[in-house]
């Protein structure tokens, strides 16, 4: 877990790698150097369209291009993709179920110094409620690359949540297989299960290590596809471990924790604790310090695991 790569970097690299497919066209809203779509632009300039600082127009333009049979990637920061242009994503892309991949970077508070105005903590919520939408939140560079390949092969709208901050590479590029809508069990355990997404996955693994030293056996599951969610792996965890902690760099309102609770409560009611941003805005600061201040830490996850076990 030494090497760190931001998922936005892996996204740009994957676009350049898989971009030889003539059907792919990439749009950006004046952020190509930050979202890394610039990597695609350098190799395939004719199929890169800069839409300027006009995200709402970009999403509907993406929809229009998709009606002509193309695979369209539309990138900007998550705050604009899932905030400002939300209604365009809904009505122009999701309602007609068009083949547009909204790949949004700079999600979560790990954006850091730019502060609350640019730290999108409601995007999973906004996007997962849209009919026809698939929501993917990869944990590392390997998973991002594999997920990009998978969404190119899928005909329909996708929202992919990507980060600015470098995160450890968890999976082996040669052996990792991305399975659409399937959770990934990273560690087995019997006392409780930690279900995490995005950059919280590597922090969940650290939490598992803390707990192991204290004699607590925690299972760790990575959910890369938040919608459609893998019900089976959640129900199995409920039955076999009897307690769940969810972890996400997102508001605790209607994020991964909520999706897991939906599945558990309707299938196998089980005590659940959520680690996430407690219904408040972020602020400026170094990403690592923000993660600590907002409780997105291995120690906090470990503490919640101990609390939830007491609720069994």
């Amino acid at each position: 877990m030494s090497k760190k790569i931001a998922t936005r970097q892996a996204y740009g690299d994957a676009l350049a790698e898989f971009g030889k497919d003539e059907n792919i066209i990439v749009l950006d809203a004046d952020l190509s150097k930050s979202t890394k779509t610039d990597n695609f632009k350098k190799v395939y300039p004719n199929r890169f369209i800069n839409m300027g600082i006009a995200e709402s127009n970009m999403m509907s333009v993406a929809a229009g291009i998709a009606t002509t049979g193309k695979t369209v990637f539309a990138s900007t920061f998550a705050i604009f993709a899932a905030g400002r242009a939300l209604e365009q994503v809904r009505n122009s892309i999701c309602y007609p179920k068009l083949n547009v991949k909204v790949c949004a970077t700079h999600a979560g508070i790990s954006v850091g110094e730019d502060g609350a105005s640019h730290q999108m903590i409601e995007d999973i919520s906004n996007m997962k409620t849209l009919p026809n939408m698939t929501v993917i939140s990869p944990a590392d560079a390997t998973e991002t690359r594999a997920a990009i390949k998978a969404i190119i092969d899928y005909n329909g709208p996708v929202y992919m949540r990507l980060g600015r901050l470098g995160v450890p590479v968890l999976f082996d590029r040669e052996t990792y297989k991305f399975e659409w809508g399937k959770g990934v069990q990273i560690k087995d355990g019997s006392d409780a299960t930690i279900i995490a997404t995005g950059l919280m996955v590597h922090i969940a693994i650290e939490a598992q290590e803390i707990l192991e030293k204290e004699g607590i056996s925690a299972r760790v599951i990575n959910i890369h596809t938040i919608k459609p969610i893998d019900k089976d792996i959640i129900i199995k965890a409920c039955k076999e471990t009897g307690a769940i902690v969810t972890a996400e760099e997102h508001s605790v309102v209607n994020g991964l924790g909520s999706s897991v609770s939906d599945v558990a409560s309707q299938n196998y009611p089980t005590p659940i604790k959520m680690v996430g941003i407690e219904d408040k805005f972020g602020k400026s600061g170094k990403p690592e310090l923000l993660l600590q201040e907002y409780g997105l830490t291995a120690q906090n996850i470990a503490n919640k695991v101990k609390e939830v076990i007491k609720m069994k």
Binding site: I25, S56, N57, V61, I65, T67, Q88, Y95, P96
Partner: protein, 285 residues
């Protein structure tokens, strides 16, 4: 163009107007005023100008049309039915639960609809996307869109105008239905977009103004002017009459989104039948 062809188009526009009234009457909801104002342009596009094939509505090289002012769906549906995309009989189902004719155009449900619209401002952007794709992939099709004048109050429309000019989309032609009225009243009272012509020229579009935006011959002439304009998109500002063809609906904003009752429906159909008879008579002159 010869007189007979012109008359045929005018007859078609009148038939479209009758279908508009019938749809809104049957549904007891919908938007007659802004549908009647664009019936002539729709007839010109679908019966004269566009490369389309009703039996193969998704053919790759077809010209595209996006009704950005999606609430004028009765106008578009009447046109598509008259053109043979689906049976005229189906218009009676407009807005009802067992019909595919949704309140606003849905491309997944309705043959011949190239883009789902209804949320104002988004359709013209989608048309820009279709035109960009045509340029990137060297396709010859052309893209047409009708925008409402009230719709110009949506900021996204201006983002779309900016991007169309930036990418020199001379394969895109837009029409602005400038009937001067929106739901709450006159657009100059509700939110005045002011000098639309000057604004669009400043956005680097080729701008054509039709003083009578319901005149078939003038509308037809704009297609050629658009085609010979290279390096920029063309927009036609149609000075239209809202509610055109139905005396009591003309220039009355309260008919933006209201259905006629039986008596009002009968008057409207009677007036349009008189117009049809007049046009048919002219064919034999």
């Amino acid at each position: 163009m010869n007189k007979k062809t012109l008359l045929e188009l005018q007859i078609t526009a009148t038939k479209i107007r009758k279908n508009i009234i019938e749809q809104v009457f049957y549904a007891n909801s919908g938007h007659p005023g802004g549908s009647l104002s664009i019936a002539d342009t729709l007839a010109a596009l679908y019966f004269h100008e566009m490369n389309i094939e009703p039996s193969n509505p998704k053919k790759d090289d077809r010209d595209r049309f996006v009704l950005s002012k999606g609430h004028a769906s009765p106008g578009l549906y009447a046109t598509l039915a008259q053109r043979g995309f689906f049976p005229l009989e189906d218009l009676k189902g407009f807005r009802s639960i067992d019909s595919y004719l949704q309140g606003h155009p849905s491309m997944k449900d309705i043959p011949g609809v190239d883009m789902s619209t209804g949320s104002l401002g988004q359709g013209i952007s989608a048309a820009v996307g279709m035109a960009i794709s045509g340029k990137v992939y060297n396709q010859d099709y052309r893209v047409y869109s009708i925008i409402g004048d009230g719709e110009l109050e949506e900021g996204q429309v201006w983002e779309a105008f900016m991007s169309a000019a930036h990418y020199k989309l001379d394969n895109l032609m837009a029409f602005i239905d400038h009937n001067g009225l929106q739901i709450d009243g006159k657009i100059i009272d509700v939110m005045n977009p002011n000098n639309i012509e000057a604004k669009l020229k400043a956005f680097n579009w080729n701008v054509i103004v039709l003083k009578d935006g319901n005149d078939m011959e003038s509308i037809i002439a704009t297609f050629e002017q658009a085609k010979i304009t290279k390096g920029k998109p063309t927009v036609v500002i149609l000075e239209t009459t809202k509610g055109k063809g139905v005396s009591y609906m003309e220039n009355d904003y309260t008919w933006h989104g209201k259905a006629p009752n039986q008596e009002q429906r009968d008057i409207a159909i009677s007036e349009l039948n008189s117009e049809l008879a007049k046009l048919e008579g002219l064919k034999n002159v």
